[in-house]
Symmetry: C2
Subunit: 280 residues, 2 copies
């Protein structure tokens, strides 16, 4: 049996009782290290906190390993119980869906233990979940690659008065271009996109496209480390949020659509300049 166990958002205490019970009975425990590695489990202290809690060792699996060694993991799961731990909930990333598809094709049973993910925890900022349009992902710009296909989605959401959740790029264990040219894999240091970088990129795109999907005066909500003790949530214009240091990862951003009265009241608690008044 392959168990996909969501770990939730902040630390080892966010696993569910069902999840903990599951991990304890598994003979092998893998943990994904690509989607949200920067939020927890990255540091050796994060990993050992989990190992102490579970009473067993964890094999950290980066994307390469999951993609290349999926068959090995799955053949273990054919004869014993294997847990695959995922930060957030299990189906946040396509890679996990792919693992499940491969498992099913091999006749390996799969069970899922759900947990919170940013896709629902974002509700904490007070904007109602059913008033979000399509979610977008913002990748890091490079010198030669400055994608803006999500611009149209933001424009569409805003035209409809809907909020847009922007997931910000995480680069973990990316082979460096230089090393690829030399034919030997070496990795870039991990990087995560800050709210500030996301807004700078968004404004650059708006300047190029000029279709007024949004502007530096558009209200947004910046959220850092959602679900952890030191989460930061600030609502303000893009221009205002650009001046804030949101601290360590992970960051995400909501571009606000039309707001209903209760949403408005909640956002006021997070308003730029009033950020001591937080719900944590």
């Amino acid at each position: 049996m392959l168990y996909l166990v969501g770990l939730g958002l902040a630390d080892e205490k966010d696993i569910t009782l069902r999840g903990l019970e599951t991990v304890k009975k598994c003979s092998k425990v893998y943990m994904e290290a690509y989607t949200s590695l920067l939020s927890f489990g990255l540091s050796s202290t994060g990993k050992s906190a989990l190992e102490n809690l579970y009473g067993k060792s964890i094999i950290v699996a980066d994307r390469e390993m999951v993609e290349e060694k999926a068959d090995d993991i799955l053949s273990e799961a054919q004869s014993s119980d294997v847990a695959f731990l995922v930060v957030g909930d299990s189906f946040g990333a396509t890679t996990h869906t792919d693992l499940v598809v491969r498992a099913k094709k091999l006749g390996v049973d799969v069970k899922v233990v759900h947990n919170a993910s940013v896709m629902n925890a974002i509700g904490v900022c007070g904007l109602q979940l059913y008033r979000y349009g399509e979610t977008i992902s913002i990748p890091f710009f490079t010198e030669t690659w400055r994608p803006d296909s999500f611009y149209e989605k933001i424009r569409r959401n805003r035209t409809l008065g809907l909020h847009t959740l922007c997931l910000l790029d995480i680069r973990v264990k990316e082979p460096s271009l230089e090393s690829l040219c030399r034919g030997k894999r070496e990795y870039e240091p991990p990087r995560y996109m800050t709210i500030n970088t996301a807004i700078e990129q968004l404004l650059e795109i708006e300047q190029n496209r000029g279709e007024s999907a949004y502007s530096e005066d558009t209200t947004c909500v910046g959220l850092a480390r959602v679900g952890s003790e030191d989460q930061v949530i600030v609502a303000g214009s893009m221009k205002q949020l650009l001046t804030i240091d949101f601290g360590p990862p992970l960051h995400c951003l909501v571009i606000v659509g039309d707001v209903h009265p209760v949403e408005k009241e909640m956002l006021e608690f997070y308003t730029f300049g009033k950020s001591s008044n937080q719900i944590s």
Copy 2:
């Protein structure tokens, strides 16, 4: 301090370690009984399973109580630790946002312990979360009230190739019309909408509107009791799903948009007629 604690989807084992720790230290524990009461906590066995786990008694709070006695709950939270338990995650329903707004206005600190909700657990069917458009809620038709304002949203989502999550009506402790006329509150028995009823209503609306937002041949995914041991997930046309008995609540429905290759592969595991081949 007011703690909003998400309970997750299925039973008492879905609380997180952080959530359990929180509940154990609170002097008073309320549980919402309106949004998803039918999934767990409804039966006295459900409630006592939670009470045994927490080692304390739970006050079940229906919508009326939360709306009318919010100030009492919040004044307790001013001087001691109060937990408010919510099935799923805390911000699924506007009522909870409203409670938080009232708390903040009274200067009561609020902390949130997140958990899975149907809004992210729906990922289990294999359709990627970032490819959903606006979520809709389908209310029960009555003789005189047959709302269809969500039709336009489904049409829009489908035009964009996006999936539509349909949350289905739950009626708990609704005063009966008759009793309201007599000026004395009496309540209808609890009701929840089945996938079948939802599809019947959707097809009636399509017939009236005739704009071909969808038809009885449109692919949908019906999900019952997501996250529990006996969850059922079946993908098929509306016409096919109409023939299935999905069993006890809660039910929800996804109207499928364009499908990417990995999504297609996952849906195949759930295809109508192959439903033994399930991920649970």
